[in-house]
Structure formats: C-alpha cells, structure tokens
Symmetry: D2
Subunit: 350 residues, 4 copies
Amino acid sequence: MLVVMQHDETEAQVARVVEIIKEMGYEARPMPGAQRTSVGLVGNDGRVDGSQIESLDGVAEVIYVSRPYKQVSREWRQENTLVTIAPGVVFGGVEIPIIAGPCSVENEHQIVLAAQQVRDAGASALRGGAFKPRSSPYSFQGLGKKGLELLALARRETGLPIVTEALDEEGAHLVADVADCIQIGARNMQNYALLRLIGRLGKPVLLKRGMAATIVDLLMSAEYLLAEGNTQVILCERGIRSFDPSTRNLFDLTAIPLVQKLSHLPIVADPSHGTGLRDKVIPMGRAAIAAGADGLLVEMHPNPERALSDGGQSLYPEQLTRLVREARAIADAIGRTITVPSGTGSAAEG
Amino acid sequence: MLVVMQHDETEAQVARVVEIIKEMGYEARPMPGAQRTSVGLVGNDGRVDGSQIESLDGVAEVIYVSRPYKQVSREWRQENTLVTIAPGVVFGGVEIPIIAGPCSVENEHQIVLAAQQVRDAGASALRGGAFKPRSSPYSFQGLGKKGLELLALARRETGLPIVTEALDEEGAHLVADVADCIQIGARNMQNYALLRLIGRLGKPVLLKRGMAATIVDLLMSAEYLLAEGNTQVILCERGIRSFDPSTRNLFDLTAIPLVQKLSHLPIVADPSHGTGLRDKVIPMGRAAIAAGADGLLVEMHPNPERALSDGGQSLYPEQLTRLVREARAIADAIGRTITVPSGTGSAAEG
Amino acid sequence: MLVVMQHDETEAQVARVVEIIKEMGYEARPMPGAQRTSVGLVGNDGRVDGSQIESLDGVAEVIYVSRPYKQVSREWRQENTLVTIAPGVVFGGVEIPIIAGPCSVENEHQIVLAAQQVRDAGASALRGGAFKPRSSPYSFQGLGKKGLELLALARRETGLPIVTEALDEEGAHLVADVADCIQIGARNMQNYALLRLIGRLGKPVLLKRGMAATIVDLLMSAEYLLAEGNTQVILCERGIRSFDPSTRNLFDLTAIPLVQKLSHLPIVADPSHGTGLRDKVIPMGRAAIAAGADGLLVEMHPNPERALSDGGQSLYPEQLTRLVREARAIADAIGRTITVPSGTGSAAEG
Amino acid sequence: MLVVMQHDETEAQVARVVEIIKEMGYEARPMPGAQRTSVGLVGNDGRVDGSQIESLDGVAEVIYVSRPYKQVSREWRQENTLVTIAPGVVFGGVEIPIIAGPCSVENEHQIVLAAQQVRDAGASALRGGAFKPRSSPYSFQGLGKKGLELLALARRETGLPIVTEALDEEGAHLVADVADCIQIGARNMQNYALLRLIGRLGKPVLLKRGMAATIVDLLMSAEYLLAEGNTQVILCERGIRSFDPSTRNLFDLTAIPLVQKLSHLPIVADPSHGTGLRDKVIPMGRAAIAAGADGLLVEMHPNPERALSDGGQSLYPEQLTRLVREARAIADAIGRTITVPSGTGSAAEG
C-alpha cells in the first residue's frame, strides 16, 4: 500500500501516517518526491484496510498494490483449475465445451427438441432457464420447478448435462438437486448472500460477470464461492454496459486473457448476451475461441420466432451447427479442440 | 411499437409482419419511407413483447414507444406519492428530510453518539448498516442482529427513525421488525427475489439505483415493489459507473428531475457514495437540493479515522452541521424547507 | 512513481529496475511486501516516463504519483485565476456570469433579438455559433464569417461580450478578430494543433470537456494553452458519454469541485448540452451554481420551434429569465452573486 | 421518423405536429395507442431535422428510423469497397494485410531496422508516427518532417508501404507527399476541418474510432471523407472508454461485424491500443481476425525497453512473427489469407 501525501503536507502529518501504519503492525517507508511525499506500507498481506489512513490530514490518496482476492489468484494456485460438470465435459483444459439451448424452458416438446438439436449440432451441454430474472414483473418468469423437471427429462433423452440459473435460496436448492452446474446471473453477481449459499451446495457453478463489474469485481465475487470451499467455478464474460446502443451489451473479449493471467479458474464467453444480435453470435463466438475462451454459452431455439424470451438473439438450429463447425476450425488453429458430446464420439469410431 | 424493416425488404416480408401483429390482437399500420418501410403497431397497452417480431425476416429493428413500467409512472398517478417513515419525516412533499449516520453500526457507544450528533446537526433520520454487502468475503460484514438492536437503542435515545439495509430473506424479516425504512442496496437493485419479498413486508422502502442501471431500469425495479402492493417507495441516486477514476462513482444529479417527471415516487440523493470523497459531499449535497431532491442520505461518523468501513467518505459531525445549514439556505431559495428533527424544532419553541 | 513487481519476481529483476531508475537519475527505494515487492522512485519532478520500466521483465504495473500537469495546478498557483472577457464580466471570483444565446447565428433579426432577450433576462454575455461542428456533413454548418459580423452587430446593440467557437486555423484567426472569448468545443478538446494555435492568439479561451475526457485529460488539454503563455482559460463541464439514453450526455457536476481543488482555473457548466432536454436546464443550472460553478453557458432561442439546430434543448426567453432569477437565489444562499449585465444593473440605480 | 406524443397530449397538439410535418413537405400518419399517440413521418429521405418538432407542445420524443449516413452505407453500395494502399496491399477483400511498426519514428537506425523486422515477420505495411498527438505538451511530439523522410527511406529499403498520422493542415500536406495511407487518429475523429481537408488529398485514409464514438459516429465521420469524393477509406477499431482500468481501452471487436453489415468500407483492428498491454496483443489480434477484421494495425519496436513512447504495449520482433503465424492459421480457418509482403512472395517461388 502506498500513501500519497498532499503537495503541502507537513512533517507532522507524515509522522502521523507513519505512526498509524506502525500501530497497524506494518513497517512504514517514507519517500520524499519533488512534488510530494509518499509513504510505503511494507508487509501488506492483502488484508490492510486503508480507509482510516485515507481520512488523515494531509493524505491525498491511498494506492493499493496488493490484490484484494486470494484463492482465485494464479499466485494461490499456479496450474489451471479443471471444472468437470459431467464425464468428459471439462472446462479449463485443452478441450472446449459448448453449452447451448433456449433462453427459457417453455414446454416438454420445446426443450427435448432443443436438446436433441444442441447435441446434433455438436455442443456438449444444455442450457435453459427455469427461473428467469426479468426486468418487468409482468414478463414470463419461467416455469420454475416444472422447468427443472423438463430439463431432467431432456438430459435423460440426450445425455447432455444441464446448466441452469438459480435466483434465490429456495430455487438454489431445487436447482442443485437437478442441474449439473448452477448458473449465477449477471444481476446477482454481487448478491453476496446467494454467492455464499451456492458456494456451500457442492455443485459446479457458472458465475456471470455483472454489467458494471470490473475484472477485479468478478474475481472478488468468485472469491466468495471459493471462501465457502467450492473451487469448481467457471467464470463467464457476457458483455458490460457501454454508451453505444448498437449492441445490447459491449462484449469484452479481452476479459478472457486478463482472467487467465490473474486466475486459475476457467472462463467462458456468451456471445448471445454479449451482442444481443443473432447475426453477430457466430463471428463473436469464433473470436472468443481465438481469444482463448475455455467454453461458449450460446442461445439456440428450435423456433426463435415463437420464443417466449430473447428470440431476437437466439440462433436457429442450423446456425448452431455452423458455429460449432467454425469453432472447431478456430480451436484447431490454436492447438485446442471442441469437446464432443458424450455418446456421439468421433464418427470415425462408428 | 414501431417495426422498422430493412432497406431491401420485400412486400411479402412486410405482409408477414402485418399478419403477426394482427395475430397478436393489435392493428398494423405500414408507413413506406424513401429509405425503408416501417410498420406501426396500434393499441399497445405496454404488454407487447416484440422479440418474436424482431426475428422475422426483413425486420431491422423494433422500437418501443410504450413504457414498460406502469404503477410507478406519473401517468398511473398524477400527484406525488408521500412516503412517511415516521411522524413528521415525509418524503415527496415540500419538506426535505436528511438521513445521516455511519456506514456501519460498530458498537453501542459509536451508534448512540452518532445518532445524537445526527440529531444535533439537524438531520431527521438515522442510517447505519447492520448487514453490509462487501466486495471481499474477508471484510467486516456488519454486526447483524446485534447491530439492529443497537439501532433500536439509538432510536430510543434520540427519537430518530431508522433506515437500514437488508441483504437476504432472513435479514429482511429481522430488518422489518426494527427499521422504519428498509434499504435495498445498489448491488441488489435487480435481485428480483429480494424485491418481491420486501415488497410484501409492508414497510417503507428506500431503493438505491444500481451501478449500471438506467433510469428506466430503476423504475422497473421499483415496479416490482409496487406490484406487490407496496407504494411506500423512495428512490435513491447514488452514482453510477463511469470511465473517470477521479470519483468513486459518477453522481448523476439529472436523475432527480428525470425521475420526478416520469414517476410520482420521491427521489433522494446520496452524495457520499455518489462521490466517495468527503470534501465533495457538501457541495454535491447542496447541488442535489438545488436540483430538486426530496431528501439526502449522507454518511457521518463520530470519528472517521477509526471507522470500520468507508471512513474516507464520511463527514465529521461538524461538517454535517454545516451541510444541513447550507442545505437549508438552498431549500429556502427554491421554496422548500429541510425537515426539522422531531422534538427539536419549532414545536419546542411554540 | 511506484513500480509494482509481479508476485514471482526474482531478485535480479528487482535489481534491474533499481538500475534503470538510477540510470534515469533518480533514487530507487525497494519495498518488499508479503505478496510482492514494489520499488519507489524518489525525486520525480513530473517528467518521468515510466513506459520503458513497464516493459522490463518482472514488472506488473507502474503507478504514477506525480501529476502530469503543471501550470494549471493549484500547486503551481494557489489563488484563483480571474478570467476577464469584458469589463465587469469576470470568471473565477465571487461574481458568476451567465452566458446565453442560440446554438447558431441564423440571421440578423434572430441574433439581435436573442442578444436583447439575453440581456433583458439578466445574463451578461452572448453565445452563438458561426462555425458549427456537425456530425453530418449535410447539416447546416453555420454562417461562417457572416455569422461573426452579425455577432459583432449584436454586441454593438446590447453591449454584451461574445463567446463563439473556432474549429480550425483559418476560423480561429477570424474568431479572434471579433470574439471576446474563443470557445474550443468538446470534439476538439484533444486537437492539440488547434490548442497550440489558440493558445498563442492572446484572447480568453473557453475549453469544453470532451465526451470521453477524464478530469485529468481536461486539465492536460488546458496545459497546452498555458504552455503557450495564455493563462486566461475557462474550463467547461458539458456532459460526458454514459450508458443511459435518458439524456443526451451525462452531466457530471462533481467535476466542478474536483477542478476547483486541483486547479486555479475557473470552471463553468453547460446544462443545455449536459442534459439535452429543455425542461432539465433550469434545475440543473441551479444545481451547477449550488455545486460552486463559476458561470453558466446556456442555449436560448427567440423561437426554439424554428431553430436551425438544437431547438429541443434551447430555453424560451422567459425560461432564461426564470433561470437567472433562480440562479440569483441559489448564489445568494452560498455567498456569491450573479453578474449583472453592463449598463443595466446597479449603475442605473446609482 | 416517429413523433411520440406525451401521455396527456391534446387533439390540438397532435394536429399541430401533423401540420408542421406537412409544412416540411412530408406525409403525417397518426397512430393512437392505448397509452399515447404517435405520428409517423412518411417519405423521410434522411435529411429531416426533427429538432423543431421535438420542441412542440405535447411531444415526448422524436425517434429516427432513417440512417443519417448515406455514401458509407451498404445501401448506397452493396459490394465491399477495396482500398489499395500499394500494389498487392488491399483492404476489404479475401486477403488481410497486417500493418506493423513502432509508435514513433525515433531515428534512422530504429525505423529501418523496424521495417526490416516487420517485413521479415510477414507483415505487409509499415506504421510509425512522425507527428504524435500527446496528452502532455511536454512529451516527445515526434520528429515531424524529418520523421517522414526516415519513413520514406525505410520504404526504399524494404518496399513496405507507409501508414502515418496527420494532425493538422500543414502536416496533412507533408504526410500526403510521403505516405501511402494517411491516418486520422482517435482524438481527431470529429475534427471535421481535418476530415474535409484530408478527404480532398486523394490518398487512402485510415480513420480511427474515437474513444467516445458510437459505430454511427464513426460512420458519420467517414461520410465527411466520402462527401469530399474520397472513397478509399479504411475504418479502424482501437478501443473505447470504459469503467474498467484493467486495460487502457475497451477493445470492441463486435464493431467489426457491425460495420461490415452497415457499410461497404473495410475495417481493421488495433489490438495494441485496444488493450494497451503487450501480452494481450497476440490473443486479441487472433480474435480480431476470427471476428472478420480486414486487417490488423500493431505496434512493434526493435527494443521496446528503449521506446520513446508506448513501449509497454509494443511487441518484440519475435512476438510479431508469432502473431503473423497465428493470424495465418486463424485466417485459414475462416477461408481468408494474410497478405504476403511484396517481394517475399510465396516461398514456393524461391
């Protein structure tokens, strides 16, 4: 930690900062400058709270050097964490799984058909919302428990593992009973009560970046999950707020190599929410793979024109097939592979 | 709703849009333009979901004209809603209450002293966190239930009503038992499960704007509370995310007249979080009153140097006294008054 | 300057950083931490360019403590700079001038009438564009030289000094011949060639904040003007880009006390561009005064319905009268006064 | 254009809007809604200025349906524009040129060595600044005319065409005499005087997106160039402002498919400025190719530790070689190729 003094600081003010740092149990190292003096705090173990120093007379600014997160960092764990949501569906290694499916589970026919199309297209996990966070209280909020049952049915029919969102305590328990991976949505990224609860459920978690979250904010929220003992955490870039209304969100693909440098956790990308535009999902899905994404999360609907939510950004089934094919070519170019859905194996085995 | 067709749309595509609109039970009105055709949807009652139209061939864009919120709008209710959190402490009228107090309740001495200082400075309600949303799982998370008891004690000592935050279901019930007004924090603005629950508790609510929330997003979240039957809702501007690190958040004071035009609900401003800088709280608190704010929410600590959280943005007690004095002068200049804390004001003089 | 090493830095890497700092002629002070080592650079006079250190092996980050601007800073000059654009129209002191007028000069009748209305309303300087930066090459671009002649005529008729924008070298010379203050628009805030040129023209300058400019960026651009020997510089907050389409720009009033702390230059506020909405100009103009603005810049048109540009955000003449009246009340509440236009005020009363 | 009336509009107000639209020479089509009435303007040819309608009583909002740009749009020209800056170096076709080189031209040795390294790495054009826009007036501003001479020398030595920036009128003429492509920097994207001047110089132009520019803003600035008769325009995504300090800018790769849908002009990507971090340039350069970029613009320096500017984001020569190799693999995966520098040809020719 570095304490920057104001230009016109007095010696007494510097001495007071040094004294407080010593009281806190650390060593203080003053550094006079031509413009102003700084005081370095030596020995910070990441737990120093500088707010009391900030408010001392003569202090201009407190700059943090230590990172506020611990267990999620590469410094805590050097090698990649592998998150396995089902046999053969592993995030963080050379293989890249693609998760696809509709925004919402609507009915049995729709979700089973979608699951078959997802599998046929070459994706290896099924997404679909049973509990939907909607900005309007009057919009369709999902089928709830019935939706979870339909997801389980779709899994039985196709063998695809299930990724689905939980919104609250009651729902989290229900989701944990059925899903292979519990999704925490962007709007709940800083719902710390929910993070703590889900951190204790012992299931893999997919944590989406909030719309106003920095990379550090995202890692801090993941830290809540790890602090509860759950290391099976997948991060997800899904676009942040920006000033340009051309797209629904601003898809920040640099987040992928940033997270991979700072953390051992895998990170996937969601080009459907990241752009909000169906015809941008394929190029940006390709770009995510090229940037090094450990997975994709994509919306596909058997009949987007009839979707109850997010129809405008859902791929048609044949578009998903094309995305998987192009993702394979890109993955191959960088020495990785797209995960093959279980049971379909390599056609070569047939 | 207006459906804008692509430049090279065909007659068949326009006909398909017209047909779907009719199927939905509305009237369609095509408007050819020199560049492209649009189709107006006539009779929209605010419940039309355009996503299925967006995905039709030849459609470039769907533009919403009706507003997605209802009960929070000025069109639903013309006159201002008055929110009363205690006798004489009313938001939305000519009088402007000031809520002040520490970021966190720390101990009995601190909160009782703070409450006395708040009252002596001329503010009329006490804030203080018992449950604290912290970005790090390792930071002080608040005293919890014990903190609520201390707030109740501070109220008995000073007569000031209590505003404090709830983070989850269990906490919401505890807070509702003690507080005069339940705060929903910025990070939970789109935690719809919490909004629905708190909407049913029958207590006044102070809903803070999320860091990435537009004004419409804020009103939509308030709509969740009203949809549960609770109209005692105070909105709060507390700064949003921006690219300039000079301040902790970007304090968006235009939100005040914007909300007052669109909605009948009162809106208060929080210059402490809005700027994150102690020496900016007084000028920006004055500015908020001048912009028409229906209240202020301000952090003050008996000893900011020793605060367990947010010390750097907390006012000293004498600064709060100055803020209230200057707020009075500004309020007077625009024909309003600052609420006098109960038991102190002119009543005592009468 | 503080050089933060990576977590796994080696002693040789730290030694290399220390060596390079010494080569640069400064003293190096290593500070080991529990997580990582930092190296302080002692004696920075504000001219250190850290980019070569950033690229050394083992370096995680370079943090600047010294400010990159000099002559604009409060540390360079303690007392406020007063900028006088005409006798009695001074920015930076207790008096607050209001500059008002149409977006564009359209014709003799319009600008002379506007000037009279501005003066009658109690504002003390006239704005009006002769050269207009327009996002479309096909939009009205201003009357050019003819517009400047009409502004001079309006000044003769009313005595009001003129503030008008220059866009390029040729125009800057023409504007300097006529105007009392040369405006540099938001889009040209980082047009350094124009800044240098206008810095040498010896006229007061009003420099608007760019749409993506931080406060430091704004001060750095002003530094270009001061580096050319011109200290008569007024800064202007006019709104920045944000994610909320509710307003044309996000009006950042905290910029006012921020600039006033960091710099000795006066800062005015433009609520017309800052909000883009006529009915928000009065409350936000009041708020700017309450925040401590050293002036206002406001669009008013004799007949906004017929304006050639920006009609939707221009005040009606009677609204300007009301704004000046309310600004007076607010100024009075904080111990300041609104400048009275020359020839109208108390002189007449004497 | 769609005029949305306020909720409580009167019949007379609607009639007035209809009347004004007719006066403007267009047809008006009122559409009553359950909440409010809208009025469509039929026959808009893209030149309607709605600001006078916005200010009519009872009008809530004016929504534009027609696009404000013309000659840059796909609707004006269906097929891609090919921009040729030298024989075999063509932007907008199947081949993808890579432009690389140092931030600034520093001296003969540096730029000639850099050019050779650029060519050896497989890039096909040389970048290097002779005129540098610097945020500080005290920073190195480039070698000016001498720098252009050194660029010409480097071209003679290597055969690589030159891309370099012009900042003002005088410099633009000098640059046009030497360069193969004139760059307009992000800070000058809305310097309309410079756009008009450069539009008339008859040289290919590379126009960088401004830090606060939407896609539509970028296209409008390109329209200035085309309106002067120059269609040889390359657009460039180089990152925009965001709230996350993790990167220098937020690299918006979705801009690539967005621009390619809306316009016939080619678009390249600059991952060096887009991220500001050397170790992110390779993954994000790959991602740009995968997203469909028509070229890359990359900073490389023979000795980044000794660079006079932007050392921290410049690639080492061997990293450029790796980027070109990986870009080739990605291009191949999507059916495109990386342009081979002239004279090196296909190894097959040797």
